[in-house]
């Protein structure tokens, strides 16, 4: 909950109009991004991402499961987000549930594509081990520790970082009769890394007044009319789209927002990749 006076609201809106926001940024600048990997030792992969005062943790746990009958050659990925009350007293009790589901569904839509897994950032067929019998189930858990706006972009970045930190043990399948459940043997030494270059980044443009801004803080978000989150991959393809906020948008404005988001995504993906690489290098330095 953000309590702002009339003057403060005016100041935020006026700043955005003049391309100088309250924290000194321009409309299309991100706050400093900080990435730390391998923060949760129990998980297969994890990462903590900070966008200014927004802080989220994502973890990936992999379990062996059975593929769903309709897609026997694909693994399963589940994304779930929790909003901790440490981030905002309003998330206490069941208060955070609505936002949690909104974020979970938006992430699922933007990162995993449709039901069949077509257009997913993660190649679901790479999770299959024995077709129709065994596959990897990835459980991706997000946790919002501190919230200062732009949670969706931060969560997507954290998920990407945690997936690039994920190591799946190599699986040896002993050949069994075709109708039996095959036995598997997990290797303790050999691990497979994920290819994360296909994972899209989410770019959220928040519309305040006539202009849109990137990486809005919660004060700015309280003044928004609507926000469009576009997930764009490295090839510049749009993988998912969500619009939030009550006000209606002109279709031409949406087109413009998408093209701006697409244009900005390249710089975001590069920035994020270099931060993830830096975090992994740091982790290797400290044994």
């Amino acid at each position: 909950m953000v309590g702002l006076s009339v003057g403060e609201k005016h100041f935020i809106k006026g700043g955005i109009e003049q391309n100088l926001r309250t924290d000194g940024r321009k409309r299309y600048t991100y706050r400093p991004i900080y990435v730390e990997t391998a923060v949760i030792p129990q998980a297969n992969g994890s990462a903590r991402v900070k966008f200014g005062a927004t802080e989220v943790i994502a973890s990936v746990k992999a379990e062996l499961g059975k593929p769903s009958p309709s897609y026997p050659d694909k693994g399963k990925v589940l994304i779930h987000v929790d909003c901790s009350p440490t981030a905002e007293p309003a998330f206490e009790g069941r208060g955070g549930e609505e936002l949690s589901s909104e974020l979970s569904v938006a992430l699922q839509r933007c990162l995993l594509g449709g039901k069949s897994g077509a257009g997913a950032g993660i190649d679901l067929s790479s999770l299959s081990i024995v077709e129709g019998k065994i596959c990897w189930d990835l459980y991706i858990e997000g946790l919002v520790v501190s919230s200062d706006g732009n949670l969706l972009d931060a969560l997507a970045a954290a998920i990407k970082a945690s997936l690039s930190n994920t190591a799946l043990p190599k699986v040896q399948v002993s050949s069994a009769a075709s109708d039996e459940q095959p036995e598997v043997d997990l290797s303790d030494e050999e691990f497979l890394q994920f290819d994360t270059c296909g994972i899209p980044a989410i770019v959220t443009l928040t519309k305040v007044g006539k202009h849109y801004i990137l990486d809005a803080t919660s004060e700015e978000e309280s003044q928004m009319s609507s926000a469009v989150s576009v997930s764009v991959n490295r090839q510049g393809r749009i993988c998912g789209l969500t619009k939030r906020g009550g006000a209606g948008l002109n279709p031409s404005v949406i087109h413009d927002m998408i093209s701006v988001a697409k244009h900005l995504s390249e710089q975001v993906i590069n920035k994020l990749d270099s931060e993830i690489a830096a975090a992994e290098a740091r982790e290797e330095d400290v044994p």
Partner: protein, 241 residues
């Protein structure tokens, strides 16, 4: 199972009277009034304090003192095996209550009438002793928020396995079924504010185990005091005093 080997070492290589590595950091949630991370070995919790502020639910308002509220939650990834737990199970409600009562005992609530203090603790990694870690984190967060307190409450657990008193149990030792004594003290006033034990223990052994837990609490108190002093010095330096 052997929890203390003949050389006198525990499963994680500690001596029976040795604590796990402590690590804490103040001011980790920038939007909260006070916050801290507290780690005891692999157990890691975040605490955030909001307040003193206006009472949200007017019917809870007390006219001559502040309302202290606490919520304990565990992250889905905090335990070894992945489980989707309902958010308000009995265990977390009980721990919320324990933390609230312990903190209420040390906050000078009468100085802040008609206001509310919220303490939120979030477990990031659970490896035994979450109760203690939560209380220690909450103390640090309250101190960071500048809330007046009688003393710094600190907490530590001790157990008794293989006829050896053990300090600061980890998850494996905790689930061994032996007694687990969790103690919370006000170190300067030398008072016990929290005492919980399960399983059974002979009277005289209980005394040694409890004494051990109290020693643990004092060690935590020393660490917290040093950390707060360091933090205050930094704040002073930044203000240019």
């Amino acid at each position: 199972m052997e929890y203390v080997n003949p050389e006198g070492l525990r499963l994680d290589g500690r001596r029976p009277l040795e604590m796990r590595q402590l690590r804490a950091e103040i001011g980790v949630v920038s939007r909260a009034d006070g916050s801290a991370v507290f780690e005891m070995g692999n157990t890691k919790v975040i605490a955030a304090v909001y307040g003193p502020r206006e009472v949200q639910n007017k019917s809870q308002q007390i006219n001559d003192q502040a309302v202290v509220r606490c919520e304990y939650s565990m992250a889905n990834f905090s335990t070894g095996d992945r489980m989707r737990k309902p958010k308000h199970d009995r265990r977390s409600t009980e721990i919320s209550l324990v933390i609230r009562q312990t903190m209420e005992a040390c906050i000078l609530t009468h100085l802040m009438p008609r206001s509310q203090i919220d303490i939120f603790v979030q477990v990031l990694q659970a490896d035994g002793g979450t109760r203690s870690a939560c209380i220690n984190a909450a103390t640090l967060a309250l101190a960071d928020a500048g809330i007046p307190m009688r003393d710094l409450v600190t907490s530590c657990a001790a157990g008794y396995l293989n006829s050896t008193p053990l300090l600061d149990l980890n998850y494996v030792e905790d689930s061994a079924g032996g007694p687990d004594v969790t103690v919370g003290i006000l170190p300067k006033l030398d008072k016990v504010t929290l005492l919980q034990m399960d399983a059974k223990l002979p009277m005289d052994t209980f005394e040694t185990v409890m004494q051990l837990a109290i020693e643990g609490c004092k060690a935590v108190a020393n660490y917290i005091r040093e950390l707060l002093l360091e933090n205050t010095k930094q704040l002073e330096f930044r203000r240019g005093v």
